[in-house]
Symmetry: C2
Subunit: 148 residues, 2 copies
């Protein structure tokens, strides 16, 4: 773990709480470069009516616009839930160098839990899972409990 | 193979040629529902300056907007190149029911060649690869030959 991982994951959790307040599955993501937060986003699949509107995809879209290119060199993503194949693939395609995630995803996690995209001969970001895992997982479990 | 697969793949090739004319890696995609083309798109990663701007992602974004929801039920995607993990994951997330692709992707193909997302306990679209493969692959090989 690196020095500011907890601080940045807390910002991603903040984003996840925005999703929760809008009755969306509470997942949040931020992208940091050289100590600066360059993108923040949360899941809006239902209100956005769009399968692409996961937190990670929205954050990558913002970061590409902010940096003016498709290669997010030197960037770290903090995300409250392990990325699904779509998001993990987008992270690889965008050359994000490091990914720190909170809760493991036993259904669709694509950075080690269900699949591991870093097993393949593609660009390999450095992955660290389980940071503030309890807080991140609790947001999700209380959301789904309230739904039942 | 189904009756109109060749006809629709030819439309996807048309999209790929638009990418080629703009000096983008020539990949095109269309989405069809009930015999109607509801989205057409081509890769614009370089000019769009965005890692998400693969043909499939752009087509899914258009189709979600067109249909007003994130579930692309009853939809078939035709794409000239086997989807990468990001795009294959987006197809699964969007519940696209059938995917017909042209050329196999030996570097990043995620519907059978390098990974197979349908091996995992996620939504499983029906996959058919190799339709107009020679034409689709030739577009790509002549693009990369010209680049060298």
């Amino acid at each position: 773990m690196m020095a500011d991982d907890i601080k940045y994951m807390a910002l991603a959790i903040n984003e996840a709480k925005k999703a929760q307040r809008r009755d969306e599955v509470p997942v949040g993501a931020i992208i940091v470069r050289d100590g600066e937060v360059i993108a923040k986003a949360y899941n809006t699949r239902e209100h956005g009516k769009n399968a692409l509107h996961h937190a990670e995809i929205k954050a990558i879209d913002k970061a590409c616009k902010r940096l003016g290119g498709w290669r997010l060199v030197g960037c770290t993503m903090y995300v409250t839930l392990e990325p699904c194949p779509m998001c993990a693939g987008a992270i690889v395609n965008a050359r994000i160098e490091r990914v720190v995630y909170g809760a493991h995803d036993h259904k669709a996690g694509a950075f080690g839990t269900m699949i591991n995209l870093t097993d393949y001969p593609l660009f390999k970001p450095q992955i660290e899972g389980g940071v503030l895992e309890t807080e991140c997982a609790q947001l999700l479990s209380s959301f789904f409990k309230a739904k039942r």
